[in-house]
């Protein structure tokens, strides 16, 4: 350094300054931005905590095993949610069986086989994007018009509800599956084809397995969203007072959100306690499903 200094003419070289008058302003702005984004996180967190705390406090007296094992009753102290839980699980089962195979199939077609330039496929693409944003009540109207009544005339049974929820989650499953398939590099399919595999062999044995964790995560999140839906079920005419579990696809049913909706709208305060307890159960089920989705994602995440 000293040789460098002696070689240079010190008088003409401006002195190096590492301070800045604008530094303070930059620091303030950084701090403000940081505060704003931290605040955004806290607001979201606070809402969740408040919801859980409120429900816990209110529903605590009713939150016991009897709640889960009992059926609805005219007396709040005896009322339970067994039929609602079973109804919800039946619907989830139907959604898993109907929406996921169709959704994954559609995603495979769109990503691996469709000519993306063709107007037909671009049209389908836009339609699916839009369907994912359609309010759930509209799906309820669809289910009512075409499944419960109309041509199929299935009535307000668990199959109708399951199919309606399947339609509701189908676009989300398709979009999530497409993203998972797109995340698998094309070099994997190229490699399979170069080994003499047919396109179907390459997709089904290499691309699809590599995309399964992403598909599973997206599908679980979509289904856990569907569990909380009350609007389409109300429209379909889910009954609110059912003292038996569904016995088949053709069975009348109730579901957790319906049960909660029903209890909250009753004048008897005892039912409000039961509703709060049922909310806790519903939250636990959805949080559990989300936890599984997150675990799946972290466990099988592939970096390429």
């Amino acid at each position: 350094m000293s040789t460098l200094a002696t070689q240079k003419d010190v008088s003409t070289t401006p002195p190096i300054s590492l301070t800045s008058r604008r530094g303070r302003w930059h620091r303030t702005r950084d701090g403000a931005f940081r505060g704003a984004v931290t605040g955004s996180v806290l607001v979201g967190l606070a809402v969740l905590v408040a919801l859980i705390a409120q429900s816990l406090v209110e529903g605590w007296p009713k939150l016991n095993w009897n709640l889960i094992t009992s059926f609805p009753s005219s007396f709040p102290e005896k009322a339970g949610i067994q039929s609602a839980i079973f109804g919800t699980f039946w619907m989830v089962g139907i959604v898993l069986v109907v929406a996921i195979p169709i959704g994954v199939g559609a995603a495979i077609y769109m990503e691996q086989f469709a000519d993306t330039e063709a107007w037909f496929n671009r049209f389908i693409d836009v339609i699916i994007q839009n369907l994912a944003a359609v309010p759930s009540i509209v799906y309820g109207i669809l289910g009512l018009a075409f499944l419960a009544r109309g041509f199929l005339n299935l009535g307000p049974v668990v199959l109708t509800a399951g199919l309606t929820l399947s339609f509701l989650v189908l676009p989300v499953v398709i979009i999530a599956s497409r993203e998972a398939l797109r995340a698998v590099p094309s070099s994997i399919l190229d490699g399979a084809l170069a080994l003499g595999a047919t396109r179907w062999q390459g997709v089904s044995r290499q691309v699809l397995p590599a995309a399964i964790p992403g598909i599973a995560t997206g599908s679980i999140l979509a289904v856990s969203r569907a569990i909380g839906e009350a609007a389409p079920l109300l429209l379909l005419g889910a009954l609110q007072f059912i003292t038996f579990n569904p016995t088949g696809l053709n069975s009348s049913f109730t579901a957790l959100p319906i049960q909660i909706f029903n209890w909250v709208s009753r004048p008897n305060v005892g039912f409000h306690v039961a509703a709060a307890a049922a909310i806790i159960v519903l939250l636990c089920i959805t949080l559990l499903m989300n936890a599984v989705a997150i675990w799946l994602r972290n466990r099988f995440q592939q970096t390429w």
Binding site: I188, A192, T198
Partner: protein, 322 residues
């Protein structure tokens, strides 16, 4: 090859633990000089083997032709990518395709196993004869073509599965009925990877180093027992030591297979290949003035590098452009 990546080599060698042991490099404190010497020695050995083979190539002038390209052009959506390529590629030789970027050498390579079919809008004109069969004939099944003509890609692309499953995939989809364990071992041995992976064939292929992954891709390719192996810049993502191993491997494999390699690396072409095709980019003749790849010169490798007949080849191989 530049000197700079040598420091990265050490990382790669540490990962390839058994490889290092076999080469007799001591564990305690890798001596860079000894390592460099070992690499140089191996490189010299490789050059010797290549020279020997080239002598045979020159003498066996009537060797069997595997591919006969007759005035091959490829268009993407109507515009020419490469035009008027005619060359014949012979059995049990390493043919290198060199040239600057965008000269169509990869495009020509992809014609040879109908991988161009997978690109929307690509069309091959002219004739590609494989053992006198027109590869683009109406009854030819691309899947059958690719089973006989394997391909190794620029970036190692192992399937995200076990080492075993990577090698077994090709035979499985091809309906292989024999002893799979034996086939997997044989293929890995042929690809000089067996000793490094034999302890845990169930390990994920993604955990291997880049050089090991590329050798796994070669093993996977060999497992379907192809006739020809196409290599699209197989070493461009690898460090010099891994590159040398792949080159040695090519040298061993060429006694059984016909190898066609696209490379950006002229030294590599000079080191390993028997014949070299030099491609370059010409200004297009069509009204849209596209730049089109053409084959300038195709000859024995020593001729192309020391006594080229075209001034463009000379300019390229002497490093004046490209």
């Amino acid at each position: 090859m530049t000197e700079r990546p040598i420091s990265e080599n050490r990382g790669a060698v540490v990962i390839d633990e058994p490889e290092r042991k076999r080469e007799g490099v001591s564990d305690a404190g890798v001596a860079p000089q000894a390592e460099a010497d070992a690499v140089l020695q191996e490189s010299a050995k490789l050059a010797e083997v290549t020279r020997e083979r080239r002598r045979q190539v020159k003498e066996g002038a009537g060797a069997e032709t595997v591919f006969e390209l007759k005035d091959v052009s490829v268009t993407y959506g109507g515009s020419y990518a490469v035009q008027g390529v005619s060359m014949s590629i012979r059995k049990n030789e390493i043919t290198a395709l060199i040239g600057p970027s965008g000269c169509g050498k990869t495009t020509v390579l992809r014609c040879l196993n109908r991988t161009n079919d997978l690109i929307q809008g690509a069309k091959v004109h002219g004739q590609v004869l494989y053992h006198d069969i027109d590869l683009y004939g109406p009854k030819v099944e691309p899947v059958e073509v690719r089973r006989r003509i394997g391909m190794v890609f620029q970036k190692p692309n192992p399937f995200p599965k076990s080492i075993y499953d990577n090698v077994a995939f090709g035979p499985r989809v091809g309906g292989f009925k024999g002893n799979m364990d034996e086939l997997v071992e044989r293929s890995l041995r042929r690809a000089a990877l067996w000793d490094e992976v034999k302890r845990d064939l169930k390990a994920s292929a993604m955990a291997l180093s880049g050089g090991q992954q590329q050798r796994l891709c070669i093993a996977r390719c060999i497992a379907v027992e192809p006739d020809v192996i196409l290599m699209d810049e197989p070493c461009s993502a690898l460090d010099p030591v891994s590159t040398l191993r792949i080159e040695e491997l090519m040298d061993e494999l060429v006694s059984e297979y016909t190898i066609i390699i696209v490379t950006h690396n002229m030294q590599q072409a000079a080191r390993v290949s028997d014949r070299t095709g030099f491609f370059t980019v010409a200004e297009g003749q069509d009204e849209k003035d596209h730049r089109i790849g053409i084959l300038v010169e195709y000859d024995l490798t020593p001729t192309v590098f020391t006594n080229p007949s075209d001034p463009r080849t000379e300019a390229y191989v002497t490093g004046r452009f490209g």
